[in-house]
Structure formats: C-alpha cells, structure tokens
Symmetry: C2
Subunit: 212 residues, 2 copies
DNA sequence: GATGGATTTGACCAAGTGGTCAATTCACGT
DNA sequence: ACGTGAATTGACCACTTGGTCAAATCCATC
C-alpha cells in the first residue's frame, strides 16, 4: 500500500488488488450461502460488479478462486488457535481460546460458513489440512490437557471431545446466525448480547471442567 | 410388505411407496452433501436408480422434493425436543434432552446436515418454522429454566445461550462427521467412542450449570 | 382377453453453467 | 504522439440444468 514513487506500477497494481479483492469478497459471500457447487461464477461476478470474463482474468477457474478463499480461512483459524498457547494456566488458556474463537466467528461469519459447507460436502479441498496440520494441532494440545488433568487442575475428560464442544459452540454463532436471528425477534445479536453469550460459554465450560 | 390378497392394490401402492422412499432417501443424501442449489435432480435419480423423468412423476419439482425432506426433519427435531419435558428435575431433563439430541444426530446425520445447509442459505424454507414453532418452544423452555434458576437448582444463566450450546454440540457430531473422522485417524467414531463423547457432553454441561 | 387408469421412460427443450477468445481499451515509459 | 503490455469485455461454446411430453408398458378388474 506504500506508493512512494519508485515502485514500478503503483496505481495499476493498486487497482488490480482492489478488483481482485472485490471478487474475492463477493466469492466468499456466494460460497458461504450456496456452497462450492451451488455458487456460480456469474453470481460472483455480478456481486463484484464486473463482467464474468473479467473474473476469469484474475482467477483462472472457479476452483482456483475457491481455493484462494479457503486458504485464507485456514490461516485465520490457526491465528485464533495460537491464543491457546499463550498462557500456562488452564483457565486462562481456555478463556483466551474460546474468546478468540468466538470473536473470529463474530468478525468473520462467512469464513466459518465456508468451512462448514466444505466439511458438509466431504472436505475435498481441506482434507489434507484436517489430516495433517489440524490433527497435529489437536494431538499436541491433547497432551497439554492431559498434563493439566494429571496435575488435578481440570477434571478428567477426553480432551478431543472438549475441543469439539468449543469448536461446535463458537462455530454455531456464525453458521446458525440466521436461526439465532429468527429466535431473537428477527434482529441479529447486539454486541452486548454477543458479549454475554461469549461470557456464558466461557463460564459454563470452565465450570464444567473445573474439579469440585 | 404384507401382501395378503384382500388389499385393493397392495403390490402396486407398495411398489409406489418403495420407489418414492428410494427417491426420498437419495434426495436426502444429495441435499445433505451439496445443499439445495448444488443438488441436481439427475444425481438424485441416478442414486435412486430410476430415470430422471420418473422422479418428476413422484415429485413435481426439485423444490417439492426438498420440502418433503425438510418437513420430516422438523418432525424428528420436535420428537427429540419433547424429551426435555418428560422430567421435572433439571439434571434429568437436561440429561435426557442432550442424550436424545446426540442420538438423533448419530442416527440421522443427513437430517442434521440438511438443516445446517438450509440455515446457511438463509433458511428460506424453514424460516416460518423457526419464527413460530421453534421460537415458542424455546420461549416456554426458557421459562422453565428460569424457575430452576430461581429455585437455586441451576446456576444463573441466560437459558437461550444454554440451548444454543446444546444444539451446537449435538449438531457438530453430525455436520462435522468428516472432520471428526479425519481427526480420528480416518475412521468414524465407534459406538463406544460416541457413547463416551455423549457422556462427556452431558457431564461437562451439567457440571457447568450446577451451583457450587 | 379386453379395458383403462397407473406407471415408466427416451427424447426433447429453454435456460443456465464454467470457461474461451479475439478484439478493444487503457495507462505508462519513451 | 506513440508503442507496448496489462486489463477489459461482448460474443461465443459445449455441456448441464430442471422440467415436459407423448408414446409405451404395466396390471387389477371385468
């Protein structure tokens, strides 16, 4: 974004990036609503306000565009996941982690929905990520939690199912936003409501795993 | 399947019901994987083993077929929901309810996935259900929970977010089955694993809401 | 074994799909 | 002002889509 003269084509590439980003964001919205197969390049181009042929100039195929969208989501996921490691104390680590995941779901519901839709169709694109990066992530955090259990800091439990509960709950607020809205009198959760929901999730889970 | 003569058109209508059910089940699978828009009548007919034109004899349009599939899911949902009301004691009611929802997710993951996919696309078909039946259901159960809170039987909390947590978690085991499988060394959860997961969900949530 | 409604299905259609391409326009360095 | 590569886009293509239809086949009844 620094356009201090000497750069080769500042305005040009800036325009390119902008248009590319417009297509990217339009694609996120359409993929989130309709899934990979249901999404159409025509609709993505229409929302981005460019002719369909232009879309194919920036992204050779629908799948290339989808993969680009997907990749970013995985990066964001890992970003939130790292907040689990910043504290040694179970309560602090778990609080931070749930908070980060809830905030991510709130800030980027589309990413969460695309992930959900990708899993629903059998995860063809992110299968490798699930089997390698994610599997390693959970394995090492399981080890941490087992140490906490042995130290009597949390109640005995299967760490894996504990993480599933966190993932499920945080993701719910993004994926089922429309359902939540319908149950909230037609209005999306306000910031206060969301903060309260987040606090309650943290609170319930922490109490749920704290030794008597 | 009982073909004991006297019935008007036993074989005929039995054949009809069978074929209709085959199409219905094929449709469930395809809708669950690809969503409404991504699903194709050709693929549904192929999986059911009938020509596409035959599908349109039993279900006039793709949407009629989808609505039929959807309706059944709502019925099943209400069935599981009723288990919340069979006990007066909070722990028993919640245990029964979580158990019923987990069992439903295990028995009918496709239904859960179709529901999720329907919400993801903005819930055009079940919006009315969400705004009326489901909204009433949660409102009356909120009242019950508030009474439990006043009686000091459970910790103070916002009942709505409590239900979201249950819905999220139970649904996760159906909707994210492929992700769970990938994290389980490629194999789906065994019955024992699932029972353990269910017990842990019940346990964590109950402890999470039990007063100190 | 003839009748007639229920069922089956191949052939077909208009609209939509992802993607291509050649012709054009743009913006920059000379 | 001009040349050049980047960017734009209307027209087009082969294929798929949901849905139709009329001709064929079935099968319980008389």
């Amino acid at each position: 974004m620094t356009d201090t003269a000497p750069l080769p084509r500042p305005a040009r590439s800036a325009g390119r990036e902008l248009k590319e980003k417009g297509l990217f964001e339009a694609a996120r919205a359409v993929f989130a609503e309709e899934g990979f197969k249901g999404a159409t390049t025509a609709e993505i181009a229409r929302r981005a306000g460019v002719p369909k042929a232009n879309l194919h100039y920036y992204f050779p195929t629908k799948e290339a565009l989808y993969r680009a969208v997907t990749e970013e989501i995985l990066t964001d996921w890992l970003g939130a996941a790292s907040s689990f490691d910043e504290k040694d104390d179970p309560k602090e680590a778990i609080t931070a982690y749930i908070g980060a995941k809830m905030d991510l779901a709130r800030a980027d519901p589309l990413g969460s929905r695309i992930w959900a839709s990708e899993i629903l169709r059998g995860a063809p694109v992110i299968k490798d990520f699930l089997e390698t990066t994610l599997a390693e992530w959970i394995a090492s955090r399981e080890a941490i939690m087992r140490r906490w259990i042995e130290a009597g800091k949390i109640r005995p439990l299967e760490p894996r199912y504990f993480f599933y509960m966190i993932w499920a709950t945080t993701q719910h607020y993004a994926d089922f936003e429309d359902q939540i809205r319908a149950l909230n009198g037609g209005a999306p959760l306000s910031d206060e409501q969301f903060q309260k929901a987040k606090a309650q999730v943290v609170d319930t889970i922490l109490h749920g795993i704290t030794p008597l």
